[in-house]
Amino acid sequence: FPMTPEAEDEGKTLRLVESYLQNFYNLQRDRQPHLRHHGENPLAAKLKEMQAFFGLQVTGKPDLNTLEVMKKPRCGVPDVGRYV
């Protein structure tokens, strides 16, 4: 079946969040998802780091304010770690 608009939106949001955190917060690209270790979801942890940096409410969830910041035009240098 064609994806429902909500599910499609969700997929788009997840892709935005993932690529933002990979580009700017050193979220490792998940090459072997079946090996995912237990413990906090790395994406949620990185999301909290990004929310703390921007002075947003630290929820670990891609709420509206967080998505609004992610959509803003910005510098390509990561906010954490080195850029060499």
């Binding site: 940096f53 035009p73 510098c75 390509g76 240098v77 906010d79 850029y83």
Partner: protein, 365 residues
């Protein structure tokens, strides 16, 4: 600071502009880059010399999508540019996404602002989480003519390269903190149920239903407005907000500045001796607007669109001992006067001050 604290070992650096964007005149690109470099040389011992046809410390170029540095650009918007920390080869280089709409004004993305930010990286700075800092990661427009390097960025770059050689050390604007007990305001107005506090180039937005206060640049919502708004009031009847700076005023209709503004304040009936307005509020029930200037106030009839006779009068004669008025607004029948860090709640029916509090009492500190 960038991890590992990379820095240039010399203060006299060289730069080269490898290519140009077709969206701007070459001379405008060069002027923007020079101005961007002087942002940093003005506050440190660093100097920048332009070179041609040879390797420079900082190579500046416009690039497209994958440009062989493992960091492809993503087309219009999104990532605007990037730069590399000090070092040999690609170290210090600045890459600007050539699919952006580069300009020398407020349209598209201002090349000067973005270049100045990236050069901060070229010199060893990383991103700042101060929303007012030049090294804040997201783009925000400031009129280049009004640009002052914020104190947060001055502190950062001087921690790496030391102070400027100038006799008088340069200082920069700081970002207002809502719960700073010393916070004072340039102007305050209501706007469709919200309260907007103006300070320098910022606005602090307080929505009655939300606990936190939102800090934005004035230019983010209203690029046509200057920073340093001195007075503002809402005419609820007409759903308009008027902004005042020096001898000019602007009208906001809905969420946009109305065409044909700014206009001289003398169109409202002020004498030429009046050079600026300190504060203003409009009484929705009477249709009268009160303008506060120095120790006097004028009263304007919104229906007749003219100043009432018998004004100006002494502020103290009608509003009591509140001194000069920095900012004022009316809400739920009370008038709130701000003088420095003090706020007076005035009851216009009883004609007396009923409460005195701190200026930041609206921010749930």
């Amino acid at each position: 600071f960038t991890a590992g604290n990379p820095k240039w070992k010399r203060n006299n650096l060289t730069y080269r502009i490898l290519n140009y964007t077709p969206k701007m005149r070459q001379a405008d690109v060069e002027e923007a880059i020079q101005k961007a470099l002087s942002v940093w040389s003005n506050v440190t011992p660093l100097t920048f010399q332009k070179v041609e046809n040879k390797e420079a410390d900082i190579m500046i170029s416009f690039a497209y999508r994958d440009h062989r540095d493992n960091s492809p650009f993503d087309g219009p918007n999104g990532q605007l540019a990037h730069a590399f920390q000090p070092g040999e080869g690609i170290g210090g280089d600045v890459h600007l996404d050539d699919e952006e709409f580069w300009t020398k004004d407020g349209r598209g993305y201002n090349l000067f602002i973005v270049a100045a930010h990236e050069l901060g990286h070229s010199l060893g700075l990383s991103h700042s989480n101060d929303p007012g800092a030049l090294m804040y990661p997201t783009y925000s427009y400031t009129d280049p003519k009004e640009f002052l390097l914020p104190q947060d960025d001055i502190n950062g770059i001087q921690a790496i390269y030391g102070k400027s050689n100038a006799a008088v050390q340069p200082t920069g604007p700081t970002t207002p903190q809502a719960c700073d007990p010393n916070l004072t305001f340039d102007a305050i107005t209501t706007l469709r149920g919200e309260i907007i506090f103006f300070k320098d180039r910022y606005m602090l937005r307080k929505h009655p239903e939300r606990a936190e206060t939102e800090l934005n640049f004035i230019s983010l919502l209203w690029p046509k407005l200057p920073s340093g708004i001195q007075a503002a009031y809402e005419n609820i009847e007409r759903d308009e907000v008027l902004f005042f700076k020096e001898s000019k005023y602007w009208v906001l209709r809905g969420y946009d500045i109305a065409p044909g503004y700014p206009k001289p304040i003398y169109h409202l009936g002020f004498p030429k001796t009046v050079k600026r307005v300190n504060a203003a509020y409009s009484d929705e029930t009477t249709g009268k607007t009160y303008f506060f200037i120095a120790d006097r106030y004028w009263r304007y009839d919104e229906n007749k669109k003219s100043m009432d006779h018998g004004y100006p009068k002494k502020i103290a004669s009608n509003f009591g001992k509140i001194g000069r008025v920095d900012a004022v607004f009316q809400k739920d029948g009370y008038v709130y006067f701000f003088h420095g860090t003090t706020q007076f709640q005035f009851d216009p029916r009883a004609k007396r001050i009923v409460k005195k509090t701190r200026s930041i009492s609206w921010f749930n500190c």
